[in-house]
């Protein structure tokens, strides 16, 4: 457990959602140190030294396109490893690729709908703040569907594919075991088998494992 509350920057232009998110984060024991509603404000706020994580909307004023995403990618260029959790009303694997491109981890990309599972959302915030990765199931499903490396993927069993998907979402072995109603040890066996079949170097580190799986799925594409 952390010794102090996580400090959060929240960028969301719609008051209704800003209020809802703030309430949920505060209920979860986090400290929302700044809330902003536009891209220029976000750029300034991202330079604050006291941030543990930035939670931001993709689409922000003034142009209502992807300025949140762009600001996040830029901020991470000057502050590598800055934890960023991107929330959006729709997810694009393309944008996920842009966020993951620097390979630094500490990235989350979730649909706003996921916030309604409050505990899972708070867990995702914790995990990303700790350098982990959390991708929306929709993004992972799209990556799995579109990967060019069909053949090795077809060698996986049904169960192994489920484990791969949850792993790509950024879940720990414990969480995967919980979801699939199996033991942690069984999950460990599945992951070893997956890594062998996909010809990935084995690694004990959770975060690097996730990034390796995502890089494999994206098959060299940005």
């Amino acid at each position: 457990m952390r010794d102090r509350p996580l400090r959060v920057l929240l960028a969301e232009d719609q008051a209704l959602l800003r209020a809802g998110l703030t309430r949920i984060l505060e209920t979860g024991g986090l400290e929302v140190v700044a809330t902003v509603g536009s891209a220029p404000e976000l750029r300034v706020a991202l330079t604050r030294p006291d941030l543990d994580i930035a939670i931001l909307d993709v689409r922000l004023p003034p142009t209502f396109t992807t300025e949140g995403l762009v600001a996040a990618v830029e901020a991470r260029r000057s502050r590598p490893g800055l934890a960023v959790l991107v929330l959006s009303q729709y997810v694009e694997p393309l944008y996920a690729g842009e966020l993951l491109a620097d390979g630094g981890g500490a990235i989350g990309y979730l649909l706003k709908d996921r916030v309604s599972d409050v505990d899972d959302f708070l867990e995702a915030v914790d995990r990303v703040a700790a350098g982990g990765t959390r991708l929306d199931p929709q993004v992972v499903a799209a990556l799995v569907r579109s990967t060019h490396r069909r053949r090795p993927l077809d060698r996986l069993t049904e169960r192994e594919r489920e484990v791969l998907t949850l792993m790509a979402e950024g879940r720990s072995n414990v969480a995967i075991a919980d979801r699939l109603f199996v033991s942690e040890k069984a999950v460990g066996k599945h992951t070893t088998s997956i890594f062998t079949k996909l010809d990935l170097p084995p690694t004990a580190d959770d975060n690097r494992r996730v990034l390796a799986v995502l890089a494999w799925l994206r098959g060299g594409r940005a």
């Binding site: 959602l17 809802g20 209920t27 309604s116 599972d117 959302f121």
Partner: protein, 409 residues
Amino acid sequence: MPLTRIRSLAPTPVDGAGLGERLRLTAVCLVWALLAAPALALAIGSILSAALGPLAVGMVLAHGVVPATAALTRLHRRVAGALLGSPVIADYADTTGRNLVTRPMRWLTDGARWRDVAFLWFSATGGFVLALLPVALLAAPLAHLTGAVLDGGLFWWLLVLLGGPSLLVWWLITPALARARAVAEGNILGRSRVERLRHRVAEVAASRADTIDHGAEELRRIERDLHDGAQARIAAVGMSVGLAEKLLRTDPEAASRLLQEARTTSVEALEDLRSVVRGIYPPALADRGLTGGVEALALQLPLPVTVSLRVPRTLPRPVESAVYFAVSECLANTVKHAAANRAWLTGGLVEGRLVLVIGDDGRGGADPAGSGLAGVARRLAAFDGTLDVVSPAGGPTLVTLEVPCATVP
């Protein structure tokens, strides 16, 4: 107005209006007949200048003859256009930036200039006969009567007897002759078929591009409306319910408040969805056609709008929809800018055209080139429709929408 559209060619009862119409047309014919003289002179001048083209004298002649011809045909175009009720437009080749030598060269290869020359010959020959006939048929009996009264000879009185049939013929054929002459002028002096088609294609291409732009813009607007409205509210409902679920045990009171909030927000989300649907295809328009749609629209406006539409339910759906949104935009303008106390809307099908007139008693000054009305005009142009705005400062404002439209059986 002496120069208005020729009324019906069908036999009309002998009355004041019919007489006035025929006298008016005979006067026009007299002018046409008189203009045959300058036309003949210019026709000869044109041929001479073209033949003498290589010599300096031909050039000089052309600089006098061609502009004079243009001035004469401009007058004829205006008269014929007024009588036909549709403008006769010339498309001379552009000669800006050309000098005294190269300009006549361009004239030589300009089809429109040669049609002017052809018109001069027509005006001096067959056109002259056409124009002179009504004048002669009317003038002869009068001249004979004058002769009979002054001279008193039997011969004059016999001629006067013939005057009756002459006047009858004048009464019967004057409108047809005047119209024939106007049609001939329009055909010679107006755009050729190819030019007309070229212009039509350009118009259609422009209106199609506008339609596509407009469609893309509308889709973007709908996406934005959904994203910022219903979608955001439903996400917020999810957040409230999720948090309430988490707090149910520890803080039931807060959980209950959150649920209440979620309920309110979900109602708002539905309201948002309804308003987006209204923006795409209003339910009243779908259920009741244009009349019902517009009546429903008028009821929701913050000023009294009297609607008297006589429109069949069998209009093509796209036309209904386009006209509905045009009316909606116009009335929205009235509400926003006109400071009006009341507005009214009338309309119906007139000879295969849907004509709607929207008026208000506001302060006027509406700008037809403003973004709102220009957008309406562009949207109607996709259906070959037009928008006419009369809005003097101080009001009132009258907006006329016209869309050609065949009813669907």
